[in-house]
């Protein structure tokens, strides 16, 4: 430790030391670490491709997702003109998968985004304020924990009726309690650390403390958890559609496609498995991305 460098006059010391070093910025560092992580880059590229193809569905395929042909029912993979085959009403699978990605991704991302905003708000309030308000929020969340998540989603869907919007609402309600719990735990842990007291002693207001000291330490954990929920959300929404509670036919959605192709499993097993495979790959990518994100956001781990 270079304690003898301090002996000089403060005035003369300040001058050479003033080579201004720009504040590094936490997110810049995270980005740098992410760019070094090959797996995460690869799965992120995969996800970008899936999202892009879904959005560009009308341009990547020339077929109508709803228009089938009786002559072309249940064709195998590799059929000329229908390279991924056709379903039980003769609709092109590739087209249906592309269009289906829109709804599936929507049903995967939107509930998580909603629960992220609502859940982390409630959780940070509960964790930071504590006391009666905290208890009220947490006990309310505990009520939701009494039901298994899929059952709760089914119940809410059943209550609201089927349709995409209702299944999104149902999934958001399902995801809010765990989000609140995680946000509350991390906030309460962070709040009692000395740097929060030090900030308060330095005259920082409560809002500034939450914004600069709590959020930066809590958001990482919540964000990582949220990305891991996306895969669950895709699977759950596919499950709801499969049960006939989410998206209604003839709309294209991966879960629904899996349901309708189920009957063709002995005729065209590979074609029938395609929507399931896509659900698997997409959720896997989200999971791996969340792992990579966690690694990059934890500055304590050296990469």
């Amino acid at each position: 430790m270079a304690s003898d460098t301090t002996m000089a006059q403060p005035g003369t010391l300040a001058a050479p030391a003033a080579a201004f070093i720009a504040p590094a910025g936490y997110w810049k560092l995270v980005r740098r670490r992410l760019l070094r992580d090959k797996t995460t880059l690869f799965v992120t590229a995969m996800l970008v491709a899936i999202v892009f193809i879904s959005l560009a569905a009308p341009w990547v395929t020339s077929y109508d997702p709803y228009q089938g042909s009786i002559m072309l029912r249940l064709k195998p993979i590799g059929t000329p003109g229908h390279w991924l085959g056709t379903d039980e009403t003769g609709r092109d699978i590739w087209t249906r998968l592309c269009y289906g990605g829109r709804l599936s991704l929507l049903a995967g991302v939107v509930p998580v985004a909603v629960s992220l905003v609502v859940g982390s708000f409630l959780g940070i309030v509960a964790g930071f304020v504590g006391g009666r308000i905290g208890t009220l929020i947490m006990r309310t969340m505990d009520v939701f924990y009494a039901f298994p998540s899929i059952l709760l989603a089914v119940a809410i869907c059943g209550l609201l009726g089927n349709g995409l919007t209702n299944s999104i609402i149902a999934l958001a309600v399902v995801f809010i309690p765990p989000m609140v719990r995680i946000a509350e735990t991390v906030t309460a842990q962070t709040r009692q650390l000395d740097f929060v007291e030090a900030a308060r002693a330095g005259g920082t207001s409560t809002m500034q403390i939450i914004r600069h000291h709590i959020l930066s330490n809590v958001l990482g954990t919540i964000l990582v958890y949220a990305t891991s929920l996306i895969s669950l959300s895709i699977i759950l929404s596919a499950g709801l559609s499969f049960l006939g509670l989410g998206v209604t036919p003839p709309q294209a959605e991966w879960g629904l496609m899996l349901n309708s192709l189920r009957q063709a499993i002995y005729v065209q097993p590979y074609v029938a498995a395609l929507p399931g495979l896509l659900i698997f790959v997409t959720s896997m990518c989200f999971n791996l991305m969340s792992d990579g994100l966690r690694g990059a956001m934890d500055v304590r781990l050296n990469r």
């Binding site: 304690s3 301090t6 030391a17 007291e197 030090a198 900030a199 005259g203 600069h212």
Partner: protein, 351 residues
């Protein structure tokens, strides 16, 4: 930044006026429990503590763990609200109308915590942490960072090397230097060091202590130095205050307290200090047992349950801080004990 020599423009009452006067500070923590979360008991963490800190001095506060040292520090910073008591900062009552606001007081009073790691935001680099508070107070970003770097240099760290590091990349001693720099960034007049060197290795501790002494001279600081380490307190303090179970039992100049302790607790505490001289080493335990539970402290003198001089009068009332009955020392030596034999430390012939 250096203010040596010239009188601090923020100085109000001149040298003779205490920088901080604490009167009858009291904090009881409720212990809740049961189904209805009712208050079942209260922890008497700090009870009727009064003292003053003079400009430019170092006041040491010693005592066993749980005696209320750290609570006192947090009460002074107003990090927790006192139940009772008055703080007077350089003649202005804190939080009173016509006095000084809590925010204004905090700018002149800063604190360094024991745990060097948890006192730094793990997501902020060293300069971020140091520049944060000044920037929040309106110093332009660039200047705040430049000053943060110069402060890093002044606490013995190389800005080029350490400015952009994260807390986990630094050693405990380096982190504590950063914590000191952060406390100094607001240009305080009073710095509370709450066990600030206790967690450091002995060699690093000595370096940091020397750094603290230099900084004190350079910036005209006043310290409140809280520690359980008697040797360190003796080394840094001008005056010492001994606490036991939330109360002050003895206070006075460091030489008087260490040479001639008047309270049986202080004497026991000092006797438990390991001696450098092998011939003076003792294996006898000067103090037995744990301090009584602060939830239900003994009536009267709180030390009487462990005191060999205890008698009926000790249980009757809390002994006031007063000059020793058998005194030859300085006038400001105060002790909270009413038994002359105890103050003299006379050896008891019977058990």
């Amino acid at each position: 930044m250096a203010k040596t020599g010239a009188l601090d423009p923020r100085d109000r009452g001149g040298k003779a006026q205490p920088l901080l006067t604490v009167q009858n500070l009291r904090k009881h923590f409720p212990v809740r429990g049961g189904v209805l979360n009712r208050v079942k008991a209260t922890v008497h963490a700090v009870d009727d503590v009064s003292f003053s800190v003079r400009k430019g001095e170092t006041l040491g506060i010693v005592g066993e763990s749980g005696c209320g040292k750290s609570t006192t520090a947090r009460l002074l910073m107003q990090l927790i609200a006192p139940d009772e008591g008055t703080l007077i900062f350089d003649g202005d009552e804190v939080g009173a109308t016509g006095g000084i606001s809590v925010a204004a007081m905090r700018r002149q009073m800063q604190m360094v915590f024991q745990d060097s790691y948890s006192s730094l935001n793990p997501r902020m680099t060293m300069v971020d942490s140091i520049a944060y508070a000044p920037h929040m107070h309106g110093v332009p970003k660039r200047r705040a960072y430049e000053e943060a770097e110069s402060l890093l240099a002044q606490v013995g760290l190389n800005p080029q090397q350490h400015a952009r590091r994260y807390p986990h990349e630094m050693s405990g001693g380096q982190r504590q230097r950063v914590n000191i720099a952060r406390a100094l960034a607001l240009e305080p007049r009073l710095v509370i060091l709450d066990e600030a060197v206790s967690a450091l290795d002995k060699s690093v501790e000595a370096q940091v202590l020397n750094l603290l002494r230099e900084l004190k001279a350079r910036f005209d600081l006043t310290y409140i130095f809280i520690s359980h380490d008697l040797n360190v307190v003796e080394y840094v303090s001008d005056r010492v205050m001994v606490m036991y179970l939330g109360q002050v039992v003895e206070s006075g100049p460091v030489e008087a307290i260490y040479r001639q302790p008047r309270h049986p607790y202080t004497r026991a505490l000092l006797a438990s200090k390991p001696s450098m001289d092998p011939d003076k080493r003792t294996t006898a335990m000067p103090l037995t047992g744990d301090p009584p539970n602060p939830i239900d402290p003994p009536s009267g003198c709180r030390f009487r349950t462990r005191c060999s001089y205890a008698r009926d009068i000790c249980a009757a009332a809390i002994p006031p801080l007063a000059p020793p009955m058998v005194d030859d020392g300085p006038a400001e030596h105060l002790v909270a004990c009413v038994v002359p034999e105890a103050q003299e430390g006379r050896v008891l012939t019977h058990a």
